[in-house]
């Protein structure tokens, strides 16, 4: 377990620009070679610069908090500083490792849940009981099923005058839909009236 945790810690360090000792031996690479490669790699140098800046900011904030707590200590007689220092130390050392551990455990758990659910669903679908339930549901009539009722014509459906009126209306509606009100085609021509010498 220690080796595994060391391995993951080194991997994270590698990502952040530090070279891990376990990974070195895993890949059979010497530390001098890694250091020279790191020095040449521009991405690593950029990551290092960002890390330096972040460390400076964190140390500045830490300093401020310590000063503030010292001041409070003087007033109240309780050693906040020691508690915070211990807290910072714990967080700094174990934060990265626990974070990686937690992410990996979370992913593994999710995978196990998905796999188990799939197995259970598969077994459930294959069972005859489920099949019977499904077929019985299909056969049961529901209130949502509507009966087809054809429209019945009244005595006026075949009346000549009404049919003529319907035809007239239909033609009129088509005309209204298809007519363009705006007279686009014959706008006044664009002529040059700005004559000068």
């Amino acid at each position: 377990m220690d080796k595994v945790s060391q391995f993951f810690s080194d991997w994270v360090n590698m990502l952040m620009g530090k070279s891990g000792s376990s990974l070195k031996t895993f890949y059979g690479v010497k530390s001098e070679d890694i250091k020279s490669a790191d020095a040449d790699n521009p991405i690593n140098s950029d990551i290092k610069k960002v890390k330096e800046v972040l460390e400076k900011i964190i140390s500045f904030v830490e300093e401020k908090i310590r000063h503030a707590l010292l001041h409070v200590n003087k007033k109240n007689g309780f050693d906040f500083v020691q508690v915070v220092n211990q807290l910072f130390a714990k967080v700094e050392n174990s934060f990265k490792l626990t974070l990686v551990k937690k992410i990996l455990i979370g992913l593994l758990t999710l995978f196990v849940i998905i796999f188990t659910t799939g197995l259970i669903l598969n077994l459930f679908l294959k069972s005859d009981v489920k099949q019977n339930v499904l077929t019985s549901l299909e056969k049961t009539p529901t209130s949502m099923q509507l009966e087809y009722r054809p429209i019945q014509n009244s005595i006026y459906a075949d009346d000549k005058n009404i049919l003529m009126l319907e035809e007239e209306l239909s033609i009129l509606v088509k005309q209204i839909d298809s007519t363009n009100i705006r007279e686009k085609a014959f706008m006044p021509p664009d002529l040059d009236f700005s004559i000068d010498f």
């Binding site: 009244s154 005595i155 009236f193 010498f197």
Partner: protein
């Protein structure tokens, strides 16, 4: 003997039929008739196509004359010689004459388009026709006096006069377009009102019907009444919008930019058209209700 009488009678009948066709083609519609008969429409179509062709030809001629004018003008400005000046004068004169021809032919097209339009009253057509003819006369007289301009400066002054007149011509054309658009709306309004009246009469007959097989369900009668009421409401709104557009005619004739006023009038008319579409669908529902049990 029989052949001698039959043959001339047959020939006379044949001549009679031919003359009858020619006479019917020359019939004019009455002043109050807002629709067009087929024969008049055919004659007007042919005339319209003719003036349209003439307008397009004059436009092409103007474009060529304008290119020549631009070339001669640039040469004169560059070299300032007497020859260049004379060439520039000649090209400008030809261009101005071609420009006037375009306007005159455009006014002919406008006139024919107006007379083909449905829903425009005879008085309006007459009034606008007089205005169009006045404009045409002005440009034709302007073309006659152009050659008397002996210098380029005189030509420029004459051109500026035509420019000022053209602004007025454009306003007249937008007025004509408005009346053509209004005519379309008016013809739709009259036709829809006619259908509504017929359906209202029919509803009255059905409602008062005593024979059981000819009676409709009271719910159907209620639906029919509701649709007819909604149709009438929309017709009222459409008429109000049409009136709103009509009130802007004065503003159009006095405006600097006729196009923007015309556009606003068309928007009102288009809204009327939308109401007519809704009325059409309501009236279709009325007929459906009458035809079904």
């Amino acid at each position: 003997m029989i052949k001698l009488t039959v043959v001339p009678i047959f020939i006379m009948l044949l001549i009679g039929f031919v003359l009858f066709d020619v006479v019917s083609a020359q019939d004019e519609t009455s002043p109050t008739d807002t629709g067009l008969s087929e024969t008049v429409s055919t004659v007007n179509d042919a005339l319209y196509k003719q003036v349209l062709t003439e307008y397009n030809l004059s436009l092409e001629k103007y474009k060529k004359a304008h290119e020549e004018y631009l070339l001669r003008r640039s040469q004169y400005i560059k070299f300032k010689t007497l020859t260049a000046q004379q060439e520039a004068y000649k090209a400008t004169l030809e261009m101005l004459i071609a420009r006037n021809d375009v306007v005159v032919n455009y006014l002919n097209v406008l006139r024919e388009r107006l007379f083909m339009a449905e829903g425009v009253s005879y008085e309006t057509k007459n009034r606008l026709d007089i205005a169009i003819n006045l404009e045409k006369d002005w440009y034709m007289k302007h073309t006659e006096i152009l050659p008397s301009a002996e210098t380029l400066e005189n030509l420029v002054n004459d051109s500026n006069k035509a420019g000022a007149r053209y602004r007025q011509t454009k306003l007249l054309s937008y007025e004509v377009f408005y009346y053509i658009s209004d005519g379309k709306i008016e013809s739709f309004r009259l036709s829809l009102n006619s259908v509504i009246d017929k359906l209202k009469n029919l509803k009255g007959i059905i409602k008062s019907e005593e024979r059981p097989e000819y009676q409709l369900d009271p719910r159907k009668i209620k639906n029919i009444e509701r649709f007819l009421l909604e149709s009438e409401n929309r017709m009222t709104r459409a008429s109000a919008l049409q009136l709103k557009a009509r009130e802007e005619v004065d503003r159009l004739t006095k405006s600097q930019d006729g196009l923007s006023v015309y556009n606003s009038m068309v928007i009102h008319l288009a809204e009327s058209q939308q109401f007519f579409r809704e009325v059409g669908s309501f009236l279709k529902e009325v007929i459906k209700e009458i035809k079904s049990r």
